[in-house]
């Protein structure tokens, strides 16, 4: 009997859905209990390794915890120390914000702009260009090539070329001179910023409804710029939102570039990011409570920024 009911409600669309939402919770639960069974294997793993870490770091951030002993509640001490006593955290925060404020928007706009430009090409050229532009983020493991390009001796490519052209007299220590380090970090981050968000944009442009444009041209749109603002961008909003999430995440988790290129800690903490600071306290000093406070700051910043972006994006094309 119950099964028949499921069939009837699933078979009809639209209005029945409304009716189904009104069906009492108990009934919906009884008809769909098996869903929980199918969701469980993934759901449990997801909870343990993605949700629990976030919840746990929020709780542990109020404690002193070194993994071996039981956590001791110390109130807001970790946060007070972060803001008042930890100069290196403030330096890391400053570096992270500088990197995020440049690479985030650059990566986001780049992902949208290149997807738009690529869309104007013929299908074969488009496929080649997508691969070329996406390749850097595919090859994330190959960060060491930058070490060779910017190596501090004359065998480093950048130094070699500059020396050869007599622009400099002695090699620049790109990877240890604090004037250059953060900019190299930013260049690499931008180089790798065309990731999943970029693919989403490319696919979004490709699947836009052509008839909308024909209608637009009848209505008086006359060039590709007007087309972009009045038709394309509003239709691309879902992809742009997805891409925003991707950009925010990658802009705030840049730690591993400096990790493998400049070492930990980097000279004068010049490219020390929040993520590096967290790893330093978590993996090296095992002050987990403190590391969790840093993680919480990171999570809260990312979620708030994301909410802000979603609000801004709703205004596009209006």
């Amino acid at each position: 009997m119950a099964k028949d009911f499921t069939v009837a409600t699933h078979a009809v669309t639209g209005e029945t859905r409304k009716f189904r939402e009104k069906a009492p919770l108990k009934k919906r639960f009884k008809q769909n209990w098996d869903c929980y069974l199918y969701l469980a294997p993934y759901g449990i793993i997801f909870f343990i390794f993605t949700i629990l870490p976030v919840l746990m770091s929020m709780v542990l951030s109020f404690t002193y915890f070194n993994i071996l002993e039981t956590p001791k509640f110390i109130g807001l001490d970790n946060y007070m120390n972060l803001l008042a006593n930890d100069d290196i955290f403030l330096k890391a925060l400053q570096n992270t914000l500088l990197i995020a404020c440049i690479t985030g928007p650059a990566g986001y706009i780049g992902a949208l702009m290149f997807a738009w430009l690529i869309n104007e090409l013929s299908p074969v050229m488009r496929a080649i260009m997508v691969t070329v532009l996406y390749a850097p983020s595919l090859s994330g493991g190959a960060i060491a090539v930058w070490q060779v390009l910017f190596s501090g001796d004359a065998y480093g490519w950048a130094n070699g070329v500059l020396l050869d052209m007599n622009l400099i007299q002695e090699p620049i220590q790109f990877l240890t001179n604090t004037d250059y380090m953060i900019w190299i970090c930013i260049i690499i981050q931008i180089w790798m910023s065309l990731g999943a968000g970029f693919l989403s944009n490319v696919a979004g442009f490709r699947s836009l409804d052509r008839s909308q444009y024909e209608a637009g041209y009848v209505d008086g749109i006359s060039n590709r710029w007007q087309e972009l603002w009045f038709i394309t961008l509003p239709a691309m909003r879902p992809q742009m939102m997805f891409s925003a999430v991707m950009s925010i995440t990658s802009a705030f988790t840049v730690g591993w570039i400096s990790n493998s290129l400049f070492g930990i800690p980097s000279t004068d903490y010049a490219v020390h990011t929040i993520l590096n600071h967290m790893e330093d306290y978590g993996n090296t000093r095992f002050e987990m409570g403190y590391a969790c406070a840093i993680a919480t700051v990171l999570f809260v910043t990312m979620v708030l920024l994301n909410q802000l972006m979603q609000k801004v994006l709703r205004k596009v094309g209006q």
Binding site: F49, D164, V202, Q239, T253
Partner: protein
């Protein structure tokens, strides 16, 4: 002879017209500038890659030449044979590193695809209490990538006794959100509810429907999940999760060669080529399906 060149010219003009054909609201010069600009950007993006490829085939004297030469002159395979020499000296056999990476990648990819797709299927096609809030949480957690949750994750794994086991590398990826998110969005647009209804009326169970209707039709989506999974697992170094040398992944072992510095420059370049090749090849093979999947990746409010 003259006639033939003329024909080719005509074809060339036709071809160029096709490439730079200005559509409505398009000027031909705009299209040409666009094309040249993209080529310029493409060269910049590829620059480090081309450098890797060239360096991998350079003999030692070219690697240490001043002024440095961008392109290789006398390509050689010495650097690759050097890797095997270096690796044969290590007390953990090279094949063991390869096994570790292949095992971890295959297991994580397989379980991620099966479990996340099954979850995505019920979240999208069944309306059970809690389905919408659960998916909303998953959508938000797209931001909590493995790098961001590394430290609390380490505590959890150490409490579960998973540190220094393959599970420490496998399980976090199985439970990652990106794959589930893409699969769910893909199912919205590809599989009509009426098809599932018909199957249910014919008496097919949910698992049967999942296996013989949903997964075959959602092939682009799980190929995309595979690409992302292989990409992530291949780059895994497990530096903070795996301490026993015999369990370390390949990328870790290869990176040890790069850390050898100047003396290992040649082998290091070859290693980098080995590290970047598989994900790029996989993307070239799956590009059409990946773009199909990403077309529905947008977030609706």
């Amino acid at each position: 002879m003259a006639r033939k060149t003329k024909e080719i010219n005509v074809e060339k003009i036709k071809a160029s017209k096709k490439v730079f054909n200005p559509g409505p609201g398009r000027s031909r010069w705009g299209n040409i500038i666009n094309f040249l600009f993209l080529c310029f950007i493409g060269v910049i993006m590829l620059f480090p890659m081309i450098y890797i490829v060239n360096n991998a085939f350079k003999p030692l004297d070219e690697l240490f030449m001043f002024p440095p030469n961008f392109f290789v002159r006398n390509p050689t395979l010495d650097n690759f044979t050097n890797i095997s020499v270096l690796m044969s000296e290590s007390w953990v056999p090279f094949s063991r590193y390869v096994f570790n990476t292949v095992f971890v990648t295959v297991v994580a990819t397989f379980f991620h695809i099966i479990l996340a797709s099954l979850a995505a299927y019920v979240l999208e096609k069944r309306d059970f209490p809690g389905s919408k809030p659960i998916f909303k949480i998953m959508e938000i957690s797209l931001m909590f990538t493995a790098t961001a949750t590394a430290i609390p994750n380490y505590i959890i794994m150490s409490k579960l006794g998973m540190i220094d086991t393959y599970w420490a590398l496998i399980l976090p990826y199985v439970g990652s959100t990106m794959g589930l998110y893409l699969m769910k969005q893909h199912l919205t647009s590809t599989i009509p509810n009426s098809l599932l209804e018909a199957a249910r009326i014919d008496g097919a169970g949910e698992l049967k429907i999942f296996r013989s209707i949903v997964m075959p039709l959602a092939k682009p989506a799980w190929l995309t999940m595979m690409l992302f999974a292989v990409q992530a697992m291949w780059a895994q170094q497990g530096a903070s999760q795996i301490f026993t040398e015999v369990k370390k992944p390949l990328t870790y072992a290869l990176n040890q060669i790069i850390t050898g510095g100047v003396a290992r420059a040649g082998a290091g370049a070859a290693v980098q080529l080995i590290i970047i090749t598989p994900p790029i090849l996989l993307f070239i093979l799956t590009q059409t399906q990946v773009l199909d999947t990403m077309a529905s990746s947008g977030m609706k409010d």
